[in-house]
Structures are given as structure tokens and as C-alpha cells.
């Protein structure tokens, strides 16, 4: 059962934790803890202690200590999740997995890697590239985010259009459960026997247990890549182009959209080669065998032109390709050149409804007299409207929260969903009833109780209501704080 955990500090727990991880790897001084009250840009909550285990065995014992002292536990990877997932309930323990950052095995023949949860996504990919392989899920935060965090959030990235999200790439997980036991979910093979517990663990936002190892699939790196940039008059025609490409039976590796406002922001800072007068730019990447890329690339180009693109270019060199991707991945950070603050919404709409959803987003923008920039994964309908504002203006934060909520409603009404990649966490839990009935959620809660009978792991997240700090928290207030600290560069 979900329940509350007191704010009471229990100093005797610190000693106990030190016997597990050693002196120096438990942080408990209130001043030191302040650093860990953040998660990306979202919210603040001071943990009772932060523990830095170095092995599965230590994690297991830390969790057992939490059980003994009856405190909440939350895993923490790199703290880039944007929905408040990694912050502790006050009084809870944060288990920081940064020291568990080894790639334990690179099994080239079986195309898999065994990694500790603190391994950084990009590091894993780079290690795989040395063998002609790749780790496909590539969130834009891949330079920073951890595999453990990716597993917990079922992270995706530009290339998950063609290769699928994290869940499709995890074969096995070693997890520490609340009673201090450790078990494997899945293993090293794609088919396994029994319930697909790894499948339901992925995306469970740290509420089931702590992943202490992951076995992930690696894919062969493609021999040929071609990246196109198509310039459109407006975002609607670009959306239609996306549908036409897919409608022709082609699934490019990535299709990413950058709207006029975002282009302006990017070009304000550096010339990244984006046309300043464009209504919208679509990046399309095609991968595969050289001749496949040539042929499919040609067809994609044709479709883009027919759908009203006034110009289609492709990167002639690796450097040029790199530049286009930098423009895309750095787009959010560049928004700082337009407004002091922005608030990123992470909603999903069916691909074919993108144009109409974005039209409604722009109506919302006008109605609230609030500029919204759009840069997103068009190929899989995961949009990221960025609401620009200045927190110093009275009432702006309230307005932004309302705008965010309206946009999510539009997504859901179009048949979409509340989050494509950042998770529900604290930030969006109040919106869960838009998508799921009380009964749907009660079944989810039951499964959680199967994993964690006491609800000790990451209490107060995902589901509306419930304990956080021992009280029902006001999600609205949390969002407000989240929005107000979401300054430029908070997430890039």
C-alpha cells in the first residue's frame, strides 16, 4: 500500500549506512544535501541522506537498511529526468548510482553489453561503436543521462522512430527489491520464460526497485547515413510531409521538426545553417546499406518536394551532418535568446493528427498571448511545445502551467498521451486521469505492490494523490516551482 514516510531524521541510520558503503559515501549534512534536492529543473525535496554504493551487494544492503529503518528510497542516475522522478520524498534516502559506471561486458558475438546502471548512455554507444555496433536509444540528453535512468523512464530519442525505445533493447535487469533481495528479470536472451517482468520494470520510474545491472542489445552500426534538411512554408505542410513519407511505406531513421521560432532562436546564437525565413525545417535521416540509402533517400526527397518543401538539402559531409544535429539538439538551449524562461511540454499525438494538434497549440498560444516554440520528434508524434515566458512578470507562471495543461488535453483528445519520454513523475501525475480511469490505475498499483509491497520505492510519483513528504502534495504548486526554475539551458 502506498503510505506516508515521516520527515523525521534518523541519525542512527547514517552509521548503519556507513558500515555498508564506507565513510565518505554517505552524505547527511543538511548543507551538503542541498545539492541533491534537485532533479534536472523540476522540483526540490531534501533527502535524509544520499548514499553512493559501488556494487550490487552494497545497493542490496542499503535497501535492506531502508527497510529496517522504514524510510523511502529513490534511485538517482544523472538527475536529468524532467518530471521530478529522481528527487527523494523528504526523509527518504537517495541512492546515487554514479559510482556504478562500469561496462562489465561487451559481448560482440552475442551483440549485447552488460552494464552497471550509472553508465552514461553515450559512453555505452561509443564503446559499442568500437566494435561496429551501436546502442540504439539515443535521448537528446545522452551525454549526461544514465542507463539506469533510461530504463526507469523508458527513454527514447530521435532514432527510436526506426529502432524502438529502451524497452525494445533491454534483455535483462538485475534489480534490488525492498526486502534486500536481488533478482534477475529476463536475462541474456530475447525470448525468456515466465512473466515479462523486465518489460514492466522498464518505464516504472523507479517505483519497483533499483536496477543494479542491465543487459542491453547492441545493433550493427549502419554503413551509410544521409541527413536531409527540408524547408517548409509552415509547420502544417511539414507535418503533412511526414505523413506522406510514412504513407509511402518508408520509415526513416529519424524525422525531427524545428519551427520558425526555434530556428530564430538557434540562428540568433550561431549560424547553424538554418534558413532564417523558413516557416519550419524538417530533418530526415536515412540509414542502411549504401544503395538503400541512395534509393530511399531519393524517394524521400521527392516526397518532401511534392509536399511543398521549397528546398531540400542534404549534408555533404560528416561535419555538416554534425552541425544539423547540433542545431537540433541544442535548440532548446538556444530558446534563451528569446525569453528568460521556457517550460517544456512533452506530449504525444498520433502522427496523422500532428498538424491539427499543432494548429491548436498555436491557437492556445494566441489565446494566452504566450509564445510557444516547437522542436520535436515528428516521426513518432512526440511533440515538445516550449512555452516561453518571463517569471518576473506577475501571473506568468500560473499562465504557463495552464497552457501546459491545455496542450496535454489537446494531445489526449487527439488520441495521444501525456508523455513520450520524460515520464510522469511528480510533474504530470495530476493529469493521469485524463488518460486512465481509477480502475486502470488501480491495476497498475497492484502490480507495483507485487514488486514493492510497502511502496517504499519512490513514493508519491506517477499516480495522483498519495504521499510525498508525508502529506498530499499540491502538484500545482510543484509545477509552479518547476516552471519558475526552468530557466534557459535548464534542459537542452
Amino acid at each position: 500500500m502506498a503510505r506516508g514516510y515521516g520527515l523525521v531524521r534518523k541519525p542512527s541510520i547514517f552509521k548503519k549506512l556507513e558500515t555498508v558503503v564506507g565513510k565518505g559515501y554517505v552524505i547527511s549534512h543538511p548543507d551538503d544535501l542541498l545539492v541533491f534536492e534537485y532533479d534536472g529543473s523540476i522540483d526540490k525535496a531534501v533527502p535524509q541522506a544520499v548514499v553512493f554504493p559501488v556494487s550490487m551487494e552494497e545497493v542490496r544492503r542499503v535497501v535492506a537498511v531502508a527497510q529496517e529503518f522504514d524510510v523511502a528510497v529513490v534511485g538517482r542516475g544523472s538527475g536529468t529526468g524532467l518530471s521530478g522522478g529522481a528527487i527523494a520524498s523528504a526523509g527518504g534516502l537517495q541512492v546515487a548510482l554514479t559510482r556504478m559506471n562500469r561496462i562489465l561486458e561487451m559481448d560482440v558475438e552475442n551483440r549485447l553489453a552488460v552494464v552497471e546502471p550509472g553508465v552514461i548512455n553515450l559512453q555505452l554507444d561509443e564503446a559499442a561503436r568500437k566494435h561496429g555496433l551501436r546502442y540504439a536509444p539515443d535521448p537528446s540528453s545522452q551525454r549526461a543521462c544514465s542507463i539506469g535512468g533510461n530504463v526507469a523512464e523508458n527513454a527514447g530519442g530521435p532514432h527510436c522512430l526506426a529502432y524502438g525505445v529502451t524497452s525494445n533493447h533491454v534483455l535483462g535487469l538485475e534489480v534490488a527489491l525492498e526486502d534486500g533481495s536481488v533478482t534477475w528479470l529476463g536475462g541474456r536472451t530475447r525470448e525468456t520464460v515466465g512473466y515479462d517482468l523486465r518489460g514492466v520494470f522498464v518505464g516504472s520510474e523507479g517505483t519497483f526497485g533499483i536496477a543494479t545491472k542491465a543487459v542491453v542489445r547492441l545493433l550493427a552500426a549502419p554503413p551509410s547515413i544521409k541527413t536531409y534538411m527540408a524547408v517548409f512554408r509552415d509547420i502544417e505542410s511539414a507535418c503533412e510531409a511526414v505523413s506522406s513519407v510514412i504513407g509511402k511505406g518508408m520509415v526513416p531513421a529519424a524525422m525531427e521538426m524545428i519551427d520558425a521560432l526555434t530556428i530564430k532562436a538557434v540562428q540568433n546564437l550561431h549560424d547553424m545553417g538554418l534558413p532564417k525565413d523558413a516557416g519550419c525545417v524538417l530533418l530526415v535521416e536515412v540509414e542502411g546499406l549504401r544503395e538503400e540509402v541512395e534509393e530511399m533517400g531519393g524517394e524521400v526527397e521527392g516526397v518532401l518536394r511534392k509536399s511543398g518543401s521549397r528546398e531540400v538539402r542534404w549534408a555533404e559531409s560528416a561535419a555538416e551532418r554534425e552541425r544539423l544535429w547540433r542545431a537540433r539538439k541544442g535548440a532548446l538551449g538556444a530558446l534563451g535568446s528569446l525569453a528568460p524562461n521556457y517550460y517544456l511540454v512533452d506530449g504525444v499525438a498520433p502522427r496523422t493528427k500532428l498538424a491539427s494538434v499543432l494548429r491548436q497549440v498555436s491557437e492556445i498560444s494566441e489565446r494566452y498571448k504566450t509564445p510557444i516554440a516547437n522542436v520535436f520528434h515528428a516521426g513518432d508524434g512526440n511533440l515538445h511545445p516550449c512555452i516561453l515566458f518571463d517569471e518576473r512578470e506577475a501571473g506568468s507562471v500560473e499562465r504557463v502551467i495552464e497552457v501546459g495543461g491545455e496542450i496535454l488535453k489537446v494531445c489526449v483528445e487527439a488520441g495521444g498521451s501525456l508523455s513520450g519520454e520524460h515520464g510522469i513523475g511528480l510533474e504530470k501525475k495530476a493529469y493521469m486521469p485524463l488518460v486512465f480511469s481509477e480502475e486502470d490505475m488501480s491495476v497498475m498499483r497492484l502490480v507495483r505492490e507485487g514488486f514493492s509491497p510497502s511502496g517504499r520505492f519512490n513514493p508519491g510519483k506517477i499516480f495522483p494523490g498519495g504521499p510525498m513528504d508525508g502529506d498530499d502534495i499540491d502538484v500545482r504548486a510543484m509545477q509552479k516551482r518547476a516552471v519558475s526554475v526552468a530557466g534557459p539551458g535548464a534542459h537542452v
Binding site: 514492466v200 546499406l289 493521469m432
Partner: protein, 417 residues
């Protein structure tokens, strides 16, 4: 076993709708256990009423799709109600532009693909007897054929589900969009749970564009080792095939491939790429490579389940690519072998005269993760056909939460769940 009060409850719940069939009980027996009563709901509400009523009576409920796979699993502890899915057979939705589709559970795979094919798309899953095997049954068993190498497993395609839970509530997880991290992926949990956690009423999946061309190549080898080496080599290449299995002569002769060890390769996609892949395949498979009709795939997939000349026993091993050789080590000359090298799935088949003993079974099962996929019902007494699975305790806990009275397919799953 018939229970009068159950029958009464069902009749009340279904308000006189004529969907209860007592005469069909024998046709719907499971591993020799005769069904108490057979119900064929035609709607979500009816299905929910049945499960709810059964739950109140503490009666067991077993879902029945195409019935092609009812021999799978341990012997049920009870089959009070068979919930037949054949009337839940509609395509609920297909959005070609979104590449998603929603089907009711009772739609046979071939029917689903016929409908999707009208728009040039498909659900790239394989199953024995696709004209009978249903979407619900395929998901409940997580059945995958050799194409999983190129296209992934059923779990990789499902993005949302509607199920009736053990207490008769109809709930959903996921949705209709390809990227979604809202709530837990319970559909992953239901996939492969053999109807023990919930009964699948509707599933939404991603669908794919049909490949422009598909070619099937075979090459024969004198020794198992040669065939495996060639296959492993081919798998390492970026231009690796969508499916690749190696079979021995016993299986080869039954499906028309003949003696020796045969590698069977599927390459699909755009024609230019396929050309290259065929050339690549020749590098590894050698000049002996020839092209055959794609019908071979269905014959291969059906083979272990064929009723007429199929094996008495079929054991599946899950291993990594590098361990497939080991998993076949003790295979005798009379045994059938089907190896999916890339997926690490090894099937060993036995044709036994008369009874086979548990000792025989233990001998064939051996180390690692294995499942007895097919065997005479009598042999199931006293063994767990699922071998050893990791985290059985956790599985039991999940089961106990979702089905506390243990009414859904009791006893059939891992560890007697």
C-alpha cells in the same frame, strides 16, 4: 466438472443471451480436462460479466483463442469456464498513417494481415496455423517465429491493451501512440502470461509497411558445425537477414528440404538492398546456395505442432547465439533440430514410440532455460513444463495481486502459477 450454481450465475450475468454452450464442453477440453461450460462472449461487456460471475463463484476461467496452442503449459487445475474468443473478431481500428492498428483478441493472424494488407501494411509476426491462431493467443503465448530476428517479438509490437482482469473489471494500459511513457506497460506483462493475469480483449500494435520483396535462400551443409559457422558469420554482417534457421535432416525431410544440415535464410526489404543481401549471403553460404519458395517458412513454423506427423515432444531452449551449439550437443540421429541462430532459440523434437518417461525428459531438458512446448498430457504430471525461470517468487507475488483467487488458467504457468 459442472457446477449448477455457476451456470445459474452465468445465465443471470448474461441476461439470457445465448452465448453459453454446454454441448461443446468436450470440444474445448484442455490437456484432457473437460470444460465445465463454454461461453462465447460477443462484446467486452459480456466477457467482463462472465469473468465477474466466475470470480464470485471461485470458478476457473480459461481463455480459448484458435485452440492451436491449448497443449501448452502445465495441466490446468481447473477449467470451469472456457471463454471462447471467436466472436470477438473485429478490427477495431487501423490508422495506416500512424502505422497502428487495434484488433479484438479473437481475430486470426492471417485475417489481421489480410485487412492490414489492403493498405500495404502488416503485423510481422509468425505463428503456426495463422488462419486459426488468434491475436490474443499469440500475445498470450508470446509466440514468435524466425522472423523475430528481423522484426522483433510480439512484445515489441504491442503498444496498448484492453483486458478483463480476474475481478471482472475491464482495464487498459498503454494507448494508440508509438511512443508513450504514461503509466506502467502492463501490456508487456500480459504478453506471454498465458491468460493467467488477465484476458486480452483488444490489443493495439504498431504495424509495418510490407517489404517490397522477399526472397528465401537455402544452403546445405554436411556438418552441423559448418552450417552454424556460416550462419554466425552472416549474422555479423550489417546486411544480415530477417530470418535465419538451421535444421537437421530429420526436420529437413519432413518439410521438403532433404538430408544434411540446411540453413534457411529470409531477406526482405527494398529490392536494391535485397540484391546486396543476397550477394552477401552467398559469401557465407557458398555456391551451394539456392533460392526456394517462401512457403518453406510456414512449413518450418508449423512442423513442431503438426498433428499428423509432428513430434511427440518438443523442447525449446533459450540461449545466446554463441551457445546454440552446446544446446544441441546431445541430439541423436533420430531427433529433430531447428535452430534459430540469431534469436538463440533451439527446438529439439522427439518422435517416441509409446510412453516416454520423465527421465527421458530430464535428459533432453538439461541446463539453461527451457520449456517443454509439446508433450503427451500424461507426462505433465509431476513436472513443470516451464523448466526453471528466474524470479519465480516475484512472479507469484504479481499473480497473487492480480488474481488473488487464482481463477485465471490456474496451474498452467511457470512454477504452477
Amino acid at each position: 466438472m459442472q457446477r449448477p450454481s455457476l451456470l445459474q450465475s452465468l445465465k443471470t450475468a448474461l441476461q439470457g443471451k445465448e452465448v453459453i454452450y454446454q454441448k461443446k464442453r468436450a470440444d474445448y477440453s484442455v490437456d484432457g480436462v473437460e470444460a465445465g461450460v463454454v461461453v462465447m462472449p460477443g462484446s467486452v461487456e459480456e466477457a467482463a460479466s462472465v469473468v465477474e460471475a466466475a470470480g464470485r463463484e471461485g470458478a476457473s476461467v480459461v481463455a480459448y483463442g484458435g485452440g492451436t496452442k491449448m497443449g501448452m503449459g502445465n495441466r490446468p487445475r481447473g477449467v470451469d469456464v472456457v471463454l471462447g474468443m471467436e466472436r470477438l473478431n473485429r478490427m477495431v481500428d487501423h490508422q495506416p498513417g500512424d502505422m497502428t492498428a487495434t484488433f479484438e483478441a479473437g481475430v486470426p493472424l492471417s485475417e489481421a494481415n489480410r485487412r492490414l494488407g489492403e493498405k500495404g501494411q502488416w503485423l510481422p509476426l509468425q505463428s503456426p496455423m495463422p488462419e486459426r491462431a488468434t491475436i490474443g493467443g499469440i500475445l498470450a503465448t508470446a509466440y514468435s517465429g524466425p522472423m523475430a530476428l528481423g522484426y522483433g517479438l510480439p512484445r515489441d509490437w504491442v503498444i496498448g491493451m484492453r483486458v478483463v482482469n480476474a475481478d471482472g473489471r475491464v482495464t487498459k494500459s498503454g494507448g494508440k501512440v508509438v511512443k508513450n511513457v504514461t503509466g506502467y506497460d502492463l501490456h508487456k506483462l500480459y504478453t506471454g502470461s498465458l491468460g493467467t493475469l488477465g484476458i486480452i480483449l483488444e490489443a493495439t500494435s504498431k504495424v509495418a509497411p510490407r517489404p517490397q520483396v522477399s526472397r528465401t535462400l537455402v544452403a546445405r551443409f554436411g556438418f552441423c558445425r559448418e552450417a552454424l559457422e556460416a550462419s554466425r558469420g552472416l549474422l555479423k554482417d550489417y546486411a544480415s537477414p530477417q530470418a535465419l534457421v538451421v535444421v537437421n535432416g530429420v526436420v529437413g525431410n519432413l518439410v521438403g528440404l532433404g538430408d544434411g544440415w540446411t540453413a534457411v535464410v529470409m531477406v526482405e526489404g527494398r529490392s536494391v538492398g535485397v540484391e546486396t543481401r543476397v550477394v552477401k549471403a552467398r559469401e557465407y553460404l557458398g555456391e551451394r546456395m539456392e533460392e526456394v519458395d517462401e512457403g518453406i517458412w510456414q512449413r518450418l513454423v508449423d512442423m513442431p505442432w503438426r498433428e499428423k506427423d509432428g513430434p511427440t515432444v518438443c523442447v525449446r531452449y533459450n540461449v545466446t547465439t554463441s551457445k546454440v551449439g552446446e544446446a544441441m550437443e546431445s541430439a541423436g540421429a533420430e531427433d529433430g533440430v531447428i535452430v534459430d541462430v540469431g534469436m538463440g532459440v533451439v527446438r529439439r523434437l522427439w518422435w517416441m514410440e509409446g510412453d516416454i518417461s520423465k527421465n527421458d525428459l530430464n535428459m533432453v531438458a538439461g541446463r539453461g532455460e527451457w520449456v517443454v512446448e509439446r508433450c503427451p498430457p500424461g507426462l505433465k504430471e509431476g513436472i513443470d513444463v516451464w523448466g526453471e525461470a528466474a524470479s519465480v517468487e516475484l512472479m507469484r507475488r504479481v499473480k497473487a495481486k492480480l488474481d488473488p483467487k487464482g481463477i485465471l488458467s490456474p496451474g498452467r504457468f511457470v512454477g504452477g502459477i
